[in-house]
């Protein structure tokens, strides 16, 4: 009886909330939820992944209070929610930059967006066409299910398809591993994953006027181009339930967690 009553209280109480969605944001939300529960002992926050699409689906079915997305909500998702009478509110919680990486022995340091597009769509096949040594280019991509795959395709390839038969790796770690041991390799990973075993490429989105190194500072001052926002979405009608958590993530303390987990804080 007591347990049931407690359960009811925790389900209906404003302090219980669920977060569901993007796997990219999982480390961030988990850390934030832990800290948030330390400050508010009465609150319970459960965080689950599954992918950005899963988050919106859960919001639609009412099985989550907050959906975490590593991309902007899609138009048909928005219209589905609208049809159900749910108006969503969007909060940008952090930014995530993608770095393009090559083998450390590669002489190439600068690449333009057009060159990257050529490389990943299979038009540019040899490093000498991009100012490097005479060596075949081996582009590595993430698997199609990844939000990172979609974002890179959108931002760098301008929605064109990757070349047929691109190497696709199941995880970011595998990309780092492969690029670090393959001389002709090129791949893309989240900024937080950069290490000394691979070399980050400086990128230009404006012809070849200015090449920018991927770094937190450059992502913050908006000179580095391959940056995506990470969002929380929630039902505007149920704002009271999530207000405290949203307030926490946007606070100085919350934004410190953002930086600690390798993302870029919002100003």
């Amino acid at each position: 009886m007591m347990a049931a009553a407690l359960l009811m209280a925790s389900l209906t109480g404003a302090q219980a909330q669920r977060i569901k969605g993007s796997d990219t944001m999982l480390p961030l939300s988990q850390r934030a939820a832990e800290e948030f529960m330390k400050i508010n002992p009465s609150a319970t926050v459960t965080v689950t992944g599954g992918g950005s699409g899963v988050g919106i689906a859960a919001l639609l079915e009412g099985t989550t209070e907050l959906a975490q997305l590593s991309r902007k909500i899609k138009f048909d998702e928005k219209s589905k929610l609208k049809a159900k009478g749910i108006t969503v509110k969007e909060i940008t919680a952090a930014y995530d930059a993608l770095a393009v990486i090559v083998h450390p022995s590669n002489k190439v340091t600068n690449l333009t967006r057009e060159q990257l597009e050529g490389i990943f769509t299979g038009k540019i096949k040899n490093w000498k066409e991009a100012g490097g040594a005479d060596r075949a280019i081996i582009p590595y991509s993430r698997e199609t299910s990844s939000g990172t795959y979609e974002f890179f395709k959108e931002s760098v390839l301008k929605n064109k398809n990757y070349m047929p038969g691109i190497m696709s790796m199941p995880a970011t770690g595998a990309i780092i591993q492969s690029v670090s041991q393959t001389e002709g390799a090129i791949g893309y990973v989240g900024l937080a994953y950069l290490n000394r075993e691979v070399k980050a490429i400086h990128i230009s989105y404006n012809g070849s006027e200015s090449f920018v190194e991927p770094s937190v500072a450059n992502a913050k001052n908006e000179t580095y181009p391959i940056v995506r926002p990470l969002y929380y979405y929630y039902d505007a009608a149920a704002e009271n339930k999530v207000k405290a958590y949203i307030g926490f993530i946007l606070s100085d303390k919350g934004q410190k967690i953002v930086s600690d987990t390798g993302f870029i804080s919002v100003e």
């Binding site: 138009f75 219209s79 698997e143 299910s145 047929p164 190497m167 492969s178 041991q181």
Partner: protein
Amino acid sequence: MKRLRRIAERLAEAALTLSGSIASLAILLIIVFLFKEGLGLFGSSAVEKGYALCVHSSNPVEQLAPQQVKQIFDRELTLWSEAGGSGGEIVTFRFDELFALYSEEELGESYELIPQRLGEVIARTPGIIAFVPEEYLPYHNREVKALPAAKISPAAFFGGREWLPTATPAPQFGVLPLIMGTVWVSLFAILIALPLGLGVAIYMSELAGARTRKLLKPTIELLAGIPSVVYGFFGLAVLAPLIRQTLRLPVGETAFAGSLILAIMALPTIITIAEDAMRRTPLAMREASLALGATPWQTIYRVIVPYASSGIMAAVVLGTGRAIGETMAVLMVTGNAAVMPHSLFQPVRTIPATIAAELGEAPAGGAHYQSLFLLGCILFIITMLISASAECIASRNPGKEI
């Protein structure tokens, strides 16, 4: 008392029959489910569900193949004359671009003005091909012509050479590279594992001393207990760079790396089963052979191996089954590039790896989801063919008559 025992026996019989039929039924249901989900792919639209392609009404194009749609949106076809129309440059238009052209107010509060705005855009661009949600199609606009959506055909599925299941607007489901990749990797895995496995099995059952066998057998059985992800790690971090350096290849994640890992993984199965089969050769048979003056070696290959041939066949089938269905290790070491394999030293993509990597995010019931189920069906048919042919070979083997 006697009656009680009879009732108990009946009950046991009934229970066994029941469990047998439940198992068969479960297998049957799984197969039916697999094929039902998979075959739904044919007949579904080649353009993403809920979306349509439309062009300006002055455009003579009536139908575009999925391949053409993909090339147009990849800007590989840039002139209508190349795509079956006449002259003019192709202007691609994705629905999202509408939001860059018009403000939220111009689109209406609940987007009721979208069809009208779409009509405007299409009317003023004769070379346009627009990819838009069906519900916002400006049906009444006379300057807009919706192209009928092509269906995904079995020919395009089984004969296609491009696997781009998430491409918009026209996903490409060509499974030929995946089937070839699977067959390629498993074939070489078995070619490597079979002589090695049989060699070890013969050594262990016939030549090794009791102490060596006692040490060797658990060690080999331990190989089967290593999780496949660990094999994958080993392959990615050790085998792939090794192969790349020694063979001077541009890339180490190749079909060969996959075959090697699979061979190592299939070895314990092959060795254990083949060795058991050989050791089951009756002592009388061996002694008779030796008594006739045959050397130990002659006894092995004229008596023991033929006697154990059906067991050896079972070892091969189970080993092959392990190789073909293996997912995680292959996913990590073969590079997963969906290209037709021409050599052993290039990346390939296998069916199990594709299913494992993509099923998680494929929207349930969509074309991508169905195509993955169909891949499962293909895998099932391949393994069925292999075990059937192995049984056929085993039953024709004259060795059984010894």
